[in-house]
């Protein structure tokens, strides 16, 4: 096992000071469930680990100025438990529920999940469709940017070598909006996604009766889609994000344009999936072949739209 020194920062300033002092010999560690595994696998060989875990003021979930603010050191378990997130940011709740195990979620942080920048990071697609902004701090002060520009490649982010990620800030979604995330994997717990899909949908329910009834009866997918076609529901806004579909988590904006402003239908959702599967650049990996990933990207928007609509209609009822 690699030997390293371990420094516990008491403040962000102290961590930044150590990053300056040790440069590329140092690495930040939060919950450690990726960093420790990376060290054991020989992927990382830091001489110094700078632990952020003791900086308690970076762990929070709070509504503020029409936005939801999430501290970078908030654990997945805290997110999973948050009523606010379950109610209004459903995709994020879906994503954290099946990430790792309880033991992992108890320590793994959302900042760590994002800074690790794996194409499969479960929290990335939900944060992307909720148009999260990230704030970081370095020796020059603080700066913020859209999360979309934060991912530069597998394991690579826009975080500077002397910067620490502080916060995610998500606009408060309007009533009539909901989001959902689907991790396509062989096993729900302790497994990485073959593909991750997140959708944010803002719907106008002109006539949602047939679909509402189908939901109430617990109808299977095909029947729900038929009921959707018999209903009159318009898509005011839609956002779609994919994980493990490209070198970084991505928004599928071409696919979003297909649906935006239109009446929701099985056909429209399939067309959206078709465009998204063309926008994606999946690879062949041990978890799945590229053609297979494209195929599931094509069919999953149907399911995601139904998840969102179930949340929207459920709330109204």
């Amino acid at each position: 096992m690699v030997k390293y020194d371990y420094l516990k920062a008491r403040s962000v300033k102290e961590a930044i000071g150590w990053l300056k002092e040790y440069g590329s010999r140092a690495m930040l560690i939060a919950g450690g469930t990726d960093v420790m595994v990376g060290i054991k696998q020989g992927k990382f060989a830091p001489e110094v680990l700078i632990s952020l875990r003791g900086i308690e003021e970076l762990s929070y979930i709070r509504p503020e100025d029409q936005r939801l603010k999430i501290g970078a050191l908030t654990t997945h378990r805290q997110l999973e438990r948050s009523e606010l997130i379950r109610e209004r940011f459903g995709a994020l709740a879906d994503a954290v529920q099946n990430l790792g195990s309880v033991q992992i979620r108890n320590v793994a942080t959302i900042g760590g999940n994002i800074c690790n920048a794996a194409p499969s990071a479960d929290t990335a697609p939900p944060l992307l469709i909720h148009e999260a902004e990230v704030t970081m701090e370095g020796p020059e002060g603080r700066r913020s940017m859209a999360l979309e520009g934060f991912f530069l490649g597998p394991g690579k982010t826009a975080l500077g070598p002397e910067e620490v990620l502080l916060e995610f800030s998500l606009p408060w979604p309007p009533d009539g909006a909901a989001s959902a995330y689907w991790k396509h994997s062989r096993r729900q717990a302790m497994d990485l996604p073959i593909l991750g899909v997140a959708m944010y949908l803002e719907a106008e329910l002109k006539e949602a009766g047939p679909l509402g009834e189908a939901f109430a009866q617990g109808a299977p997918l095909e029947e729900l889609l038929e009921a959707l076609d018999r209903s009159e529901i318009y898509c005011k806004e839609v956002r779609l994000a994919l994980g493990v579909a490209a070198p970084t988590p991505m928004r599928a904006k071409g696919a979003e344009a297909v649906l935006k402003g239109k009446r929701l239908s099985t056909e429209g959702l399939l067309e959206m999936g078709q465009v998204a599967s063309e926008e994606a650049q999946p690879r062949d990996t041990v978890r799945g072949a590229a053609w297979y990933r494209r195929e599931i990207i094509r069919v999953l928007p149907k399911r995601l739209a139904l998840f969102c609509l179930k949340r929207i209609t459920g709330r109204k009822g």
Binding site: Y6, K8, G32, K40, Q41, S101, V102, N106
Partner: protein, 165 residues
Amino acid sequence: MKRRISFTLNGEKVEAEVEPHWTLLRLLREVFELTGAKEGCGMGECGACTVQLDGKAVVSCLLPALEVEGKEVWTVEGLAERSPSGLHPIQQAFVQQGAIQCGFCTPGMIMSAKALLDENPRPTEEEIKTAISGNICRCTGYVQIIRAIKAAAEGGDDGGVEGSR
């Protein structure tokens, strides 16, 4: 260079000298000679090294030892020691329900179950499955394990053993 840390281990204040790169698992097994927590995969996947840190289930193989400074750690050894009958109600239930075969996963399973029942004394079967989804049993005695945790929940109106938290 070793550093001195102090924390609460199974209800007692302890101090230890640790290397900065040690994990809690190594500290428990090699310094305190508590070998209940096992190293299975060493990558946080199997749960055989599960212990409670401030009441929460964590995998000790991925936890830097220095992070337990000032915190409270419980291992499976602490449960048995504190019980007048020699076994904690969860352990008793595992024995009675035949939830142990080779025994390698058992300490981790019991600590995951303990963390669950401390927080939620009446879990549903779904909640039990979620709580042990990070604990692998290769003898595949999951059915009995789930039954044992249920039995411990139903039988343990006293909420477990006095002083075991």
